[in-house]
């Protein structure tokens, strides 16, 4: 028996994906705002997340999730309506985080039918309690400011009468309304003199949002208004352009939407107000059903809200009720139909008071003044939604991208097979046009390749962000007040690499906070004044993504580690032969745990060895460095298996090799006077008062051939981390972009990576070039880092 509605299985993937993304988004907002201010945008966003989850899980038939989301939505509804409200924030965040966890957990278990749907009703009670507390609090603050005060003042009081105002509405899909607006202003300049616009500064970042929310207004002086309007209407993405007049009376634009006109003055038309039950999940749909059921009763004049399919309709109905104006023969029977509707709480016939009717007339005279605040209330939600569901982002299965990438690689190779086909050489006629087209084709395929590559690249931020949550939770339980700092979170890596990083990072960060960082008292006792910090950083080095996690905690004692390892019987050689670095590596051995007590977060001794294994299976490496009393640093290096890098192609004794440009600081030819021969046989070179080792690529890679004098070849001044040396090659042949592919695992036993070969790459002509790993090359050839030299 499936947990969700039959027939919804096809939607499951999408549901899981979208909800997970929404919840991550929620976590991010909660994390960011927990210690600072919860802005109106954030509240709206949280509200939207909950609203969407409520809707989609209701659609999937997951009633428990839907109700949970609903309860949270209610809380944020109150908060949104009363932004000034001072409430119990720790509790609010605790509830919100717990909700997020519950929902995530539920989504994870969705496909597992052995796990029943969780009953959240107890927790929902708590949420309801909190919502009630908030509502009471809000009622206490009688002077709560009106919520719809966002309207833009369109008409300034001292505006001359000949100044005309035009309101322009752009279509919803319009990406950059501010730019469209600028274009429009230019286009009318021939017909009219533009005095000012609302928003005034179209180049400001906020202009787009403001236009989307409130519309765009131009104040201008002109002779022929119709012509101007026609011009404006012709504009790209313009939905509507109309002249608006200043309202006759001082109609207050900040009028609350709650004060809806109670009825219309028109003959025979009666107005009904329907309110739905609190628990009604989709009032807009219920409203639609009602409208349909009224079809027999009479002619529908209009409804408020008018468009029931819009997202905002739900909320508006919930807030103001649903209003129906209908020309009906028998008002009582209409009322009866309405009252019979599902989830209908009350349905009343409204008598049109005269004052209200009069006011409505004033409003029709000033439609824009009324439209503006109404839109202002609805727009922010829509806007926030644009980032996700707005059609500008789609999600694609990774396998499809893999296939695309393979295809593109094949196209590139085939293309060069065609354009440099040997048959062409035998052809004696004119090939100018062919070559021109061939060049065009090459340009396009190059671009295609770049684009496809870039699609797969995502910032490591996504993996880092999840750690904020881990650290936050641990701070709450352990009371260590650890700061989590990100460095280089914008570093991009292949999607698959970032996905792989998630679990290892979680383990390492947990270890750092749990074992690494001391309790506040211990820190104080050790005289540490700086705040406890865990730093996650990312960057590139030698065609690898380097991720490190550094803490300024207690550090590790090699002797202690050794003793512990001895006790657990995992030593593989005599105790005194272990170097410090090897001692640290012991903690990545199976069956090792240094913490005496096992905590909720770590310490079962199955952490680090699993982490190391995971990283090694994707061709990565992990290393540990530590200083007792100062902290530890865990570094993960993962090859950018699919990334493109820039390389310099060189030859050494007839072999072609590629050196990543990122490793090379400088290329030069050596002068005899720079060269020094060390008595030990090493060749050295002076580069701007620095004495560096010269490594002949041919020697480093054991390529046979003649040793040419150093002055005849090319020098590459390479630096990796704080290791430096000059690499010598015979010739520099070209520079290009390549895709690094790892060498076959069948070659693993030759340790080529350690000796300085990172992998290889297939070039456009189908030939293969070897990519060097300068960092490894320097280490393997005994180049010491500055730290090691002391």
């Amino acid at each position: 028996m499936s947990k969700f509605d039959a027939g919804m299985e096809s939607m499951l993937d999408t549901f899981v994906f979208e909800s997970t993304e929404l919840l991550e988004n929620l976590d991010e907002i909660l994390m960011r705002t927990e210690d600072s201010e919860l802005g109106a945008d954030d509240i709206a966003e949280i509200f939207r997340v909950m609203h969407t989850i409520k809707g989609s899980s209701a659609m999937m038939g997951l009633k428990n999730m839907s109700e949970l989301a609903h309860a949270v939505e209610d809380i944020y509804f109150v908060i949104r309506e009363n932004p000034e409200l001072e409430c119990d924030r720790p509790q609010l965040y605790e509830l919100s985080f717990t909700t997020s966890d519950y929902l995530k957990n539920e989504i994870e278990n969705l496909e597992d039918e052995s796990v029943p749907l969780t009953d959240f009703s107890e927790f929902i009670e708590r949420l309801h309690g909190f919502a009630k507390y908030l509502t009471d609090l809000a009622k206490g603050e009688a002077a709560a400011p009106p919520s719809a005060g966002k309207a833009v003042e369109i008409f300034s009081p001292d505006e001359p009468e000949e100044l005309k105002t035009v309101q322009i509405t752009f279509s919803e899909s319009c990406m950059m309304p501010s730019i469209r607006a600028m274009v429009l202003m230019n286009s009318v300049s021939a017909e009219a003199e533009v005095v000012s616009t609302i928003p005034a500064d179209l180049e400001a970042d906020s202009a787009d949002d403001s236009i989307r929310e409130n519309g765009f207004y131009i104040k201008l002086l002109c002779d022929d208004m119709d012509k101007v309007i026609a011009l404006l209407k012709d504009g790209v993405d313009v939905e509507k352009a109309e002249e608006i007049k200043r309202p006759a009376a001082a109609a207050a634009p900040e009028k609350k939407p709650e004060a809806l006109p109670a009825g219309s003055a028109e003959e025979g038309v009666s107005t009904y107000l329907v309110r739905f039950e609190e628990g009604c999940l989709m009032p807009a749909i219920r409203a639609m059903v009602l409208v349909n059921s009224l079809a027999k009763e009479g002619e529908l004049v209009r409804t408020v809200p008018a468009d029931l399919e819009k997202d905002e309709a739900e909320e508006e109905i919930r807030k103001n009720g649903f209003r129906i104006e209908i020309k009906a023969k028998d008002p009582d029977s209409v009322l009866a139909v309405l009252k019979d509707g599902l989830n209908v709480l009350t349905a009343d016939k409204l008598e049109p008071p005269k004052a209200a009717a009069a006011r409505e007339k004033a409003e029709t005279a000033a439609p824009s003044a009324q439209a503006a605040p109404a839109k202002a209330a609805a727009a922010p939600k829509k806007d926030a939604g644009g980032a996700h569901g707005g059609g500008s982002i789609i999600s694609v299965k990774l396998e499809k991208l893999d296939r695309l990438l393979d295809l593109v690689a094949e196209i590139v190779i085939t293309e060069s097979g065609v354009t440099s086909n040997p048959d062409l050489k035998e052809y004696t006629g004119n090939l100018d046009r062919f070559h021109k087209s061939a060049r065009e084709l090459k340009k396009l395929t190059d671009e295609l390749q770049d684009v496809v590559m870039s699609i797969r690249m995502v910032p490591v931020q996504t993996a880092f962000q999840k750690m904020s949550r881990v650290v936050r939770d641990m701070n709450k339980t352990l009371g260590k007040n650890v700061n989590l700092v990100f460095v280089g979170a914008e570093t991009e890596a292949d999607k698959s690499v970032v996905d792989i990083l998630g679990d290892p990072l979680m383990h390492i960060v947990r270890n750092a906070v749990d074992h690494g960082i001391e309790m506040p008292e211990e820190r104080a006792a050790a005289g540490k004044t700086e705040p406890a910090t865990v730093t996650l950083s990312a960057g590139y080095e030698s065609g690898e993504v380097v991720i490190s996690c550094e803490d300024n905690g207690a550090g590790m004692d090699p002797k202690k580690l050794l003793a512990k390892a001895k006790k657990n019987g995992i030593l593989t050689k005599p105790e005194n032969e272990y170097t410090d670095a090897e001692c640290y590596e012991l903690i990545m051995t199976a069956g090792f745990s240094t913490n005496e007590t096992v905590t909720e977060y770590s310490g079962r001794g199955v952490g680090m060895d699993v982490v190391r294994k995971n990283i090694e299976t994707v061709g990565g490496k992990m290393s540990i460095d530590s200083e007792l009393g100062r902290g530890s640093k865990f570094t993960i290096r993962i090859p950018l298996s699919l990334s493109i890098i820039d390389v310099l192609d060189v030859t050494a004794n007839g072999s072609e090799l590629s050196v990543p440009v990122s490793s090379v600081k400088e290329i030069f030819r050596a002068e005899e006077s720079q060269l020094i021969n060390d008595p030990g046989g090493d060749e050295l070179i002076m580069v701007r008062e620095k004495c560096l080792r010269v490594i002949r690529l041919a020697d480093a890679f054991e390529l046979e051939g003649e040793r040419i004098p150093l002055t005849e070849g090319i020098m590459l001044y390479c630096a990796e981390g704080d290791r430096e040396a000059v690499i010598f090659a015979d010739e520099l042949t070209s520079d290009q972009q390549v895709v690094v592919k790892p060498l076959s695992i069948l070659l693993n036993k030759f340790d080529l990576k350690k000796k300085g070969i990172a992998g290889c790459s297939i070039l456009a002509d189908g030939s293969i070039t070897l990519i060097t790993d300068i960092n490894e090359l320097l280490i393997y050839n005994g180049i010491k880092s500055r730290a090691e030299l002391g």
């Binding site: 094949e410 072999s655 060498l743 076959s744 069948l746 030759f750 070969i757 290889c760 189908g766 293969i768």
Partner: protein, 142 residues
């Protein structure tokens, strides 16, 4: 009958140093002409280098070198047999491919030598054929 058919396999036989060797055809993915092979530094002598097999980089071994035979004469009959060693492709350069022949794995006399590259021997059409275990041959995991 059906059981017979599934148990019967095919051998890809090839000659080297006056002997006949064979791979079970199940593990063979391609037989190709000898392409351009990019040399690899710092590897064993019998590793000829790497080649581009339709966008995949595949290492190439010299069969004779791997078996410890003296270098063979390679001519236009020489080719590369590509075998799949549990997901990793390996190209093996052989002097001459002979044929694909049906055989019954039960008729192979297993070699008593442990961890040998030769799984066993079989007599087909009056010739003795040495059946190679491509996983052992590839030195994978060593």
């Amino acid at each position: 009958m059906a059981a017979d058919r599934t148990s019967a396999g095919q051998l890809l036989t090839f000659g080297c140093a006056d002997q006949i060797y064979a791979f079970d055809i199940i593990s063979v993915t391609d037989i190709i002409e000898v392409p351009e092979i990019t040399r690899l530094p710092m590897v064993a002598e019998h590793i000829l280098g790497i080649m581009n097999l339709r966008g995949k980089v595949v290492p190439v071994m010299d069969f004779a070198g791997r078996m410890g035979f003296p270098p063979q004469n390679y001519d236009e009959h020489s080719c590369i047999i590509v075998v799949d060693c549990e997901g990793a492709l390996l190209g093996i350069k052989v002097p001459k491919v002979i044929d694909a022949e049906a055989y019954d794995p039960d008729e192979v006399s297993p070699s008593p030598v442990e961890n040998s590259v030769i799984t066993g021997y079989i007599e087909l059409k009056g010739r003795r054929i040495s059946v190679i275990d491509c996983l052992a041959f590839s030195e994978k995991g060593k």
